[in-house]
């Protein structure tokens, strides 16, 4: 294995959960000349990307790239439409009222009189009492109402300009991916990983199996969860995000009997949050603040952070093996999908030239850091009074999040970042949902008479509510099958 000229031919994927099967299927399907072998080790309990039911809209694009139909990938796996998350109690309530907001994926209102909708809303919020911001998002209103229609073709349509994700059953979904991957030509290799053989050139030469066999490959894809059982043989350089993402424990339970609902509920508690939705429920908390809670000490550990170089030589870590974050906003599987796409698009030669890997790692880092920022935002701007929340809000945010916050607070502007997972409307949903508002009116907005702006907003919210009240219930069928 000393001569590393030529193309990559043989790939070994380690990991038999959603991430491993997704990687194997995508690599074999999209780069069909590869010989993809998978070591389907059962995902460990702390591999969050392999276990969470709620997914972001990007999963549908992942299916499309693989040529997986909705009938196969969605309906036969028992998946359901997921529109968004209801965040309850993430800011301090007043007079027994628990504040809430919905984060769904898509446009809020429409720009009018030459100004962004959210700037009109922000001015109104300072002087009047407009309807809550999420009442202007078609996806959020549908989610609250439990109704659903596919987005209109015209993104400017009243019930258009939004996306949705899915609630999946990870076991059934992984079984579907496995069947698809094997159909595409992926070969399964039974056995457990016992060690990693490193060659003289520092590249991984082979995965060593418990049974004594060795499996060679040109490229090793590590989807084994946070332990990164292949990739960690090369180095363990990691950047910790523990100060910004303060929760370090996860308790996750399946709840199969739960009725389908397009809206998850994510409720803050004294030292973290709990959720219910999509056939699962769970609790995330900071162990240092759990005190004598009945669940203190339970669950799996989360060590938030990322590898500075997820791809080193001929070994690339994906999913929780690359970046470990708590499941808030359900980004773990999305980050894995994104890494898989990037491997397909940027596959280097057998030499895995450092200049090519550096570009891969640069994009992964930019993406992961903005996901970190978006999650950290939920804690950084909370005004809940408990010691956990005060400590979390007291930490200086990462510089890029501090920059976004400063720009938004100054005048409602959100600076552009490359490789951003969450669109501007998602940032607005959380910022405004957690009571962060610009300190000044935008000068252009200031030219519009407040009553005229208020009338336009009221009209929009009423029209949206009426249109959505007429839609069918979300759980009734699989309306996405009606899509052409």
């Amino acid at each position: 294995m000393s001569d590393r000229h030529g193309p990559i031919r043989r790939v070994l994927v380690a990991g038999g959960g959603l991430v491993g099967w997704s990687a194997a299927a995508a690599l074999q399907r999209r780069l069909p000349w590869l010989e993809v072998v998978i070591l389907p080790i059962a995902p460990p309990a702390d591999a969050i990307a392999d276990r969470i039911h709620a997914t972001l809209p990007s999963i549908l694009g992942f299916h499309e790239d693989l040529g997986l139909s909705d009938a196969d990938a969605v309906v036969r796996t028992g998946s359901n439409i997921r529109l968004g998350t209801l965040f309850e109690g993430w800011t301090a309530g007043r007079d027994g009222h628990v504040p809430d907001y919905v984060h769904a994926y898509g446009r809020h209102g429409r720009p009018f009189e030459g100004g962004s909708f959210h700037l009109h809303w922000a001015r109104a919020a300072r002087h009047q009492a407009p309807a809550p911001f999420d009442r202007f998002s078609a996806a959020a209103v549908m989610a609250r109402a439990g109704r659903f229609a596919v987005p209109a073709d015209d993104p400017e349509a009243l019930v258009g300009g939004f996306e949705h994700g899915l609630h999946i059953d990870p076991v059934r979904y992984a079984a579907m991916l496995r069947a698809f991957a094997l159909h595409c030509g992926v070969r399964e290799r039974a056995g457990d990983l016992a060690g990693v053989e490193i060659g003289e050139d520092g590249f991984v030469a082979a995965a060593l199996l418990a049974e004594g066999d060795r499996v060679e490959a040109d490229l090793f894809v590590d989807a084994t969860g946070p332990a990164a059982r292949l990739r960690s043989a090369l180095d363990d350089a990691r950047i910790s995000w523990a100060s910004w993402l303060p929760c370090d424990r996860l308790i996750l339970e399946d709840a199969a009997a739960m009725p389908a609902d397009p809206l998850d509920r994510v409720t803050a508690h004294g030292c973290g949050w709990r959720w219910t939705g999509g056939g699962s429920q769970g609790l995330v908390y900071a162990s240092a603040f759990a005190g004598a809670a009945e669940w203190a000490g339970q669950g799996v550990a989360i060590d938030p952070g990322t590898r500075s170089r997820p791809w080193l030589r001929n070994c690339v870590a994906i999913g929780d093996a690359a970046t470990a974050v708590e499941p808030l906003e359900w980004t773990n599987l999305h980050l894995a999908h994104s890494a898989i796409d990037r491997i397909v698009a940027m596959l280097p030669g057998r030499d895995c030239a450092p200049v090519e890997l550096a570009e891969y790692n640069r994009q992964c880092a930019a993406e992961a850091e903005r996901v970190r920022d978006f999650l950290a935002l939920h804690y950084a701007v909370s005004d809940r009074p408990e010691p956990f929340w005060r400590a979390a809000a007291g930490i200086a945010p990462p510089p890029s999040l501090a920059h976004s916050l400063a720009q938004f607070r100054a005048r409602g502007r959100l600076p552009f970042y490359e490789e951003e997972t969450f669109a501007k409307d998602s940032w607005l949903a959380v910022l405004i949902g957690q009571n962060v508002l610009p300190e000044r009116d935008d000068p252009l907005i200031g030219l519009v008479p407040p009553d005229r702006a208020a009338a336009a907003m009221t009209h929009h919210a009423q029209a949206l509510a009426a249109a959505i009240a007429a839609l069918p219930p979300a759980g009734a069928a699989h309306p996405i099958l009606q899509r052409s």
């Binding site: 940027m346 030669g349 100054a410 600076p415 490359e418 000068p443």
Partner: protein
């Protein structure tokens, strides 16, 4: 210029100029210029001309690391470093690389997927289609006369 005007409108001060607006304007413009700078340097640096001190200098001068990495990625496999924010998109970079005869030494393995004759046929058809479409268009002056004529005295 237009980018700067857009940023200026977005960050236009009310009353006094605030540091938060000023710094953000400068940050946005710096980033924009860094990318334009690399794109312009590419025109000079990626040359085969050897017929004057000037061209010999720009051909061999030290270039910014950010451009050296971009050129190396193109040379190796024809890859364009992608930025969503930036004046010059993929097609512009490809036009200058190939126009100045920077040829990738390797390629994205996916380029080998279609059979060579299918690929050649597809490219020939595309070229003919583009040529036919362009040939069917009116001349520039004829278009202006029809679309937005101006009287000679204006």
């Amino acid at each position: 210029m237009q980018q700067a005007i857009t940023a200026l409108i977005e960050l236009f001060p009310q009353g006094r100029v605030r540091g938060v607006d000023r710094d953000e304007f400068n940050r946005v413009i710096d980033l924009e210029y860094e990318r334009i700078r690399d794109f312009l340097i590419l025109h000079y640096h990626a040359t085969e001309r050897d017929d004057s001190e000037f061209w010999r200098y720009v051909r061999t001068m030290t270039i910014p690391d950010s451009l050296a990495e971009k050129m190396e990625l193109f040379r190796r496999r024809g890859r364009i470093v992608k930025y969503r924010e930036g004046v010059f998109l993929d097609a512009s970079w490809v036009a200058v690389y190939l126009g100045q005869r920077v040829r990738p030494e390797g390629r994205d393995p996916r380029a080998d997927l279609p059979a060579m004759d299918v690929l050649m046929r597809g490219m020939t058809n595309l070229r003919d289609e583009v040529a036919a479409t362009a040939a069917a268009m009116p001349g520039h002056l004829a278009f202006i006369d029809r679309y937005c004529p101006m009287s000679p005295t204006a």
